[in-house]
């Protein structure tokens, strides 16, 4: 049936195209940054004094279709750039426009800052709900841990997105776990994008051009995850000049280079960046100066991207990422040393060919491989207590096609093929406990249409078909979004849909994502899925303010968790247990996107729970709140450009406490073969209650930053001072019970105190 449905869909698409052959003209083109030649996603092109317009796709390409031939004035705009007007003679056959927008710049020697709040002419909004886009320049102004701006931490400031703790950069979006968010870097899936046990993400913010978070209700063009989507587009590179930067902070140093490229007469660009921490050198020096047992730890990562314009309509791109974390720790007595070793990392390589096909279509083809690997061991000389290794290879081919030849319709379709090869192996005391080897492939076809019915209504119906060979499983995800426009600024949006997920994560702990193990669904378990409904209101003022509010409900099925008592197994059904969940909530966000003072306020109110079968031994089969369930979240993020030399940033966050499983009583544990009094704690043991039966007190934190812009030997430089947790309110992390004391001694482990940071960056 799935194959019949796929064939029928293709026929429908072909019929639509043939029966709606273009009669009028189309205005097509690319909008790029004038200084670098970088394509600009989500830039606007509108016809003056009309309601006709379009926004660029992620490659900077736009189409305004069905325009009667004649003379028009087009207005091009994008946040952070000066508007441009261009007179265009529209003909039935015309070449794509190449439009350059000048970025708004503040000259360093000017006394007064003139930042114009030009009217943003954005006549056509997509029906996509729960979408929050962020420009990388905004991220660079936000105060952050380590003095280095982090993409994932920036996402955590959006209402509806929560962090498990201050030291985690993982995203919990609307009650979901991190594995329920599809993370795409240049259209390629990334697994476990964290460094330093979750403290930082693998996204080097200097290399990020654009990112968008779809918190829920996302359209059919995305699939494979049941919660949300984070799309990250990396810089293409400056097509006109060579530029680079060096940056040094307290934790790591970064370097980047970009510039034009010319191969066989074809022009293009390249961009590369590299980052490495030097904590290991600091620790080594400390170890030499004193008898300290400290772990060796370092991480590094690098991005590379090459673009080549084969024609004025065709671009070929190769992009790659590589990164690794490694920790080695020796401790214990001279004659009984214990070694703990951990290593994990990502590598991705992707190619993509994109082409503006005719005057109505845009097509892209891509092939990519993504590998995530982790391994760890605990040993005493030649004796290994416990060790494990895990890897996942994701080979994928993707093709996407956009058709804009049918007036008031924007049809998108595509085919994704992914082949997964995963392996997890754990050995304990010389015995292999788990050895799960899984290969599978997944094929999905999607079809969606953004259909502007009239000036007030827009619909986005869509469907995504899946075939998964392991277990010969299929699924159909219907999606529907709609918009009602009161006028250009006010609209109501709604979305409903089903979202299937074909990858499961076996989590090794609440915080350490390095121990997360990814598996495609095999023939022993069904895919997880969610049903979502979202309703929202948007008010998009032309002077740079916008306000959004949304409410949502999600129910989750076949959510997987590691079976706690698994001690052997070769299938996922033996290693995993599946359960249900739900999440619902309310959010609002007020943003000011232009002017000297910009930023946002946001609030969310939410609930989420999970439940697993009784025989899983997880909370005895009862509903429980997961660790990331927090009732209230309030965030303020502000950036103020006081002068050409000084930028200031502030963020303040308040959230109610997260759950923790608290003890209830003390009793004596007894084992066969020895007396409890032989033990240091005399056998005293805590009996704990239901999972996460207790809430820590609320948290709030203030982060500040000040950036001094200046010239360093003629090169633009930034010196950033930041204070993380300015009034040193340390958030609760874990409560531990010391049973060696009587009565039991309770210790609350709290996280980071006030940390002053400094970072220096030079750009040339």
């Amino acid at each position: 049936m799935i194959r019949t449905s796929l064939f029928s869909a293709l026929l429908v698409i072909a019929a639509l195209i043939l029966t709606n052959a273009v009669q009028a003209a189309n205005i097509t083109g690319f909008i790029v940054d004038a200084s670098s030649g970088e394509p600009l996603p989500v830039a606007s092109a509108v016809i003056e004094d009309s309601d006709r317009g379009a926004t660029t796709n992620l490659d900077g390409y736009f189409v305004i279709n069905h325009i009667p031939p004649g003379a028009y004035t087009l207005i091009f705009s994008h946040l952070g750039y000066h508007n441009t007007m261009q007179d265009v003679q529209v003909m039935e056959v015309m070449e794509p426009l190449q439009v350059e927008l000048q970025p708004t710049r503040v000259k360093l020697k000017e006394v007064e800052v003139k930042v114009k709040r030009e009217e943003i002419k954005d006549k056509r909004k997509t029906p996509t709900v729960s979408a929050v886009a962020m420009d990388s320049r905004l991220i660079r102004t936000m105060p952050s841990l380590g003095g280095e701006m982090d993409v994932m931490r920036a996402m955590q400031t959006i209402p509806g997105v929560k962090a498990a703790s201050d030291i985690s950069s993982a995203l919990h979006v609307r009650g979901g776990s991190p594995d329920q968010t599809l993370i795409l870097m240049d259209h390629n899936t990334v697994y476990n994008p964290t460094h330093m046990f979750g403290l930082f993400s693998t996204f080097n913010s200097d290399a990020v051009k654009y990112l968008e978070l779809l918190k829920g209700g996302f359209p059919a063009k995305y699939g494979g995850r049941s919660g949300s989507v984070l799309e990250v587009i990396m810089n293409d590179g400056n097509r006109k000049q060579y530029h680079g930067l060096f940056s040094i902070g307290l934790i790591s140093g970064r370097a980047a280079l970009e510039g034009p490229l010319s191969i066989a007469g074809k022009k293009g660009s390249f961009a590369g960046s590299f980052r490495r921490t030097y904590i290991d050198y600091v620790v080594d020096a400390m170890r030499k100066s004193g008898d300290l047992e400290l772990p060796d730890y370092y991480f590094y990562d690098g991005n590379g991207k090459f673009n080549l314009d084969l024609t004025d309509r065709t671009t070929f791109t190769v992009a790659g990422y590589w990164g690794n974390d490694r920790m080695n720790f020796d401790f214990g007595n001279e004659d009984a040393r214990i070694n703990a070793y951990l290593s994990w990392g990502n590598r991705t390589l992707a190619t993509r060919l994109r082409h503006a096909l005719g005057r109505t279509s845009y097509v892209s083809f891509g092939a990519a491989v993504s590998r995530y690997r982790s391994k760890w061991s605990f040993s005493n000389e030649d004796v290994v207590f416990d060790r494990a290794r895990e890897r996942i290879y994701d080979y994928s081919i993707k093709s996407d096609y956009e058709y804009l030849g049918w007036q008031d319709h924007h049809i998108q379709t595509g085919l994704w093929y992914s082949y997964y090869d995963t392996h997890f192996w754990e050995e304990n005391e010389d015995m292999v406990y788990v050895d799960v080897d899984t290969t599978a492939y997944n094929v999905s076809l999607y079809l969606q249409d953004s259909w502007r019915i009239n000036a007030f209504y827009e619909l986005q119906p869509g469907v995504r078909f899946y075939y998964h060979n392991a277990g010969d499983q299929t699924a159909v995800d219907p999606r529907l979004a709609m918009v009602y426009y009161f006028d250009e600024q006010l609209r109501i949006k709604a979305a409903v849909g089903r979202y299937s997920q074909w990858m499961n994560v076996m989590s090794g702990g609440a915080e350490m994502s390095v121990f997360d193990l990814w598996f495609p669904v095999d023939d022993s378990i069904d895919p997880s899925y969610s049903n979502q409904i979202v309703l929202g209101f948007e008010w998009d003022r032309a002077d740079g303010y916008d306000f959004t509010t949304e409410t949502y409900y999600t129910d989750m099925h076949n959510v997987a968790a590691m079976r706690p008592m698994v001690d052997e197994g070769e299938s996922e059904a033996e290693a995993f247990v599946v359960g249900d969940g739900y999440a619902y909530g309310f959010e609002w966000m007020l943003r000011k996107k232009a002017g000297r003072l910009n930023g946002w306020l946001g609030y969310s109110l939410s609930w989420t729970e999970r439940r697993f079968p009784v025989d899983s031994y997880i909370n005895e089969g009862e509903w429980f709140y997961p660790k990331w369930d927090r009732r209230h979240d309030f965030i303020v993020v502000l950036n103020y450009k006081k002068s050409p030399r000084w930028d200031y940033g502030v963020s303040w966050r308040y959230n109610t406490g997260q759950g923790f499983t608290h003890g209830l009583r003390v009793y004596t544990t007894r084992f066969a073969g020895f007396d409890p009094t032989d033990q240091g704690n005399y056998g005293r043991t805590i009996f704990k209650g239901s999972k996460n039966n207790y809430r820590f007190p609320e948290d709030h934190r203030l982060d500040l930053s000040a950036t001094y812009n200046h010239l360093f030997f003629g090169m633009r430089a930034r010196l950033t001072f930041s204070i993380y947790n300015a009034y040193s309110r340390r958030s609760y992390w874990i409560r531990s019970f010391n049973t060696r004391e009587n009565p039991i001694e309770v210790t609350d482990a709290k996280l980071l105190p006030i940390i002053p940071l400094i970072n220096y960056e030079v750009r040339f």
């Binding site: 590691m562 008592m565 031994y617 007894r670 039991i744």
Partner: protein, 313 residues
């Protein structure tokens, strides 16, 4: 109020901010916080422990209720006394009655004149009725005795050195291996447990760490540091294992014990590890109506002497 008119004004109405702030306050104050900030109420259940060792007369069971988390804990204060406890062989019906140990509240010993010697491949049941009318029970089987158990040292060249009863060893010796053979038919063996127990009195324990200096105040040991026991658990199909020297912490006579354990006891030990890792809230108990463990085992002991090697530095 016409919403389009209000919201389409050129200037941003300041009262909108007040409305938003009010909404935030309203939701913050009335957000239906259904999860308690205080610990839940809990009606404590009886905690019962009893172990049956193949070919050894049954000696004792323990029954208590525990104490509230932040109270000072004393087993005798938490003990349940006056309970009726009996253990019987499911096949033969032979029954052992237990009575209070008058010298140790919470400890139950066989009634005078009665004896129970557990046998391999036999099923047993324990039943307990407390003075408050609570009824807790459990069942277990007892594994057969080991056919063979050997403790060996194996160096990097593969040379095997058998360990004999009473041998003196140090942590500089080659790695220690345990090998065993046992009849597992019938599923009576749920797994294995290994114990390393320092038999010197706790207050006299001396660390094997060669750098330990009894005269150095920084090396002083508190009572709670003197943990004389190390244990680990292996799956039912294990036939050998290595034991790291890191498990041996103390100088002096040391008992090494290998146990073949029933399935319920294996689940309890393995889940105890998982609970320490945070994957479970509590170990898995096999007492119906309460907490604790009723389990069967067979065992093999070795006694060696661990000698401390002085530091060369």
């Amino acid at each position: 109020m016409n919403i389009r008119h209000v919201l389409s004004k050129d200037s941003f109405p300041s009262y909108i901010l007040f409305i938003l702030a009010g909404l935030a306050f309203m939701f913050a104050s009335t957000g239906c916080e259904s999860t308690p900030t205080e610990v839940e109420e809990y009606d404590p259940e009886p905690v019962l422990y009893a172990y049956l060792t193949n070919s050894e007369p049954f000696e004792e069971a323990f029954l208590e209720r525990g104490t509230p988390l932040f109270d000072h804990y004393d087993f005798e204060d938490a003990a349940i006394t006056g309970a009726e406890i009996k253990i019987f062989d499911c096949a033969s019906g032979d029954t052992l009655h237990l009575m209070d140990d008058q010298e140790k509240p919470g400890r139950y010993i066989p009634v005078a004149g009665e004896e129970l010697i557990p046998r391999g491949r036999h099923h047993y049941r324990i039943e307990c009725r407390t003075p408050d009318g609570e009824f807790v029970w459990s069942e277990t089987s007892v594994p057969v005795a080991f056919d063979t158990v050997a403790i060996e040292l194996v160096d990097m060249y593969g040379t095997v050195y058998p360990v004999s009863e009473g041998d003196t060893l140090t942590r500089n010796h080659p790695n220690m291996f345990w090998r065993w053979a046992i009849d597992t038919t019938g599923g009576f063996v749920g797994g294995y447990a290994g114990l390393i127990v320092a038999e010197t009195p706790r207050d006299s324990l001396v660390p094997l760490d060669p750098d330990w200096d009894p005269n150095d105040p920084d090396d002083a040991l508190d009572d709670e540091d003197r943990n004389a026991v190390g244990w680990t658990v292996f799956r039912y199909d294990a036939e050998w294992t290595t034991i790291a020297w890191a498990f041996f912490e103390w100088e002096g006579p040391t008992r090494i014990e290998l146990q073949a354990i029933s399935a319920g006891y294996y689940d309890y030990l393995f889940s105890s590890f998982r609970a320490m890792q945070g994957m479970l809230e509590n170990p898995i108990f096999n007492i119906n109506g309460g907490l604790g463990v009723f389990a069967g085992l067979s065992k093999k002991e070795f006694h060696i002497y661990m000698k401390r090697v002085e530091s060369e530095g």
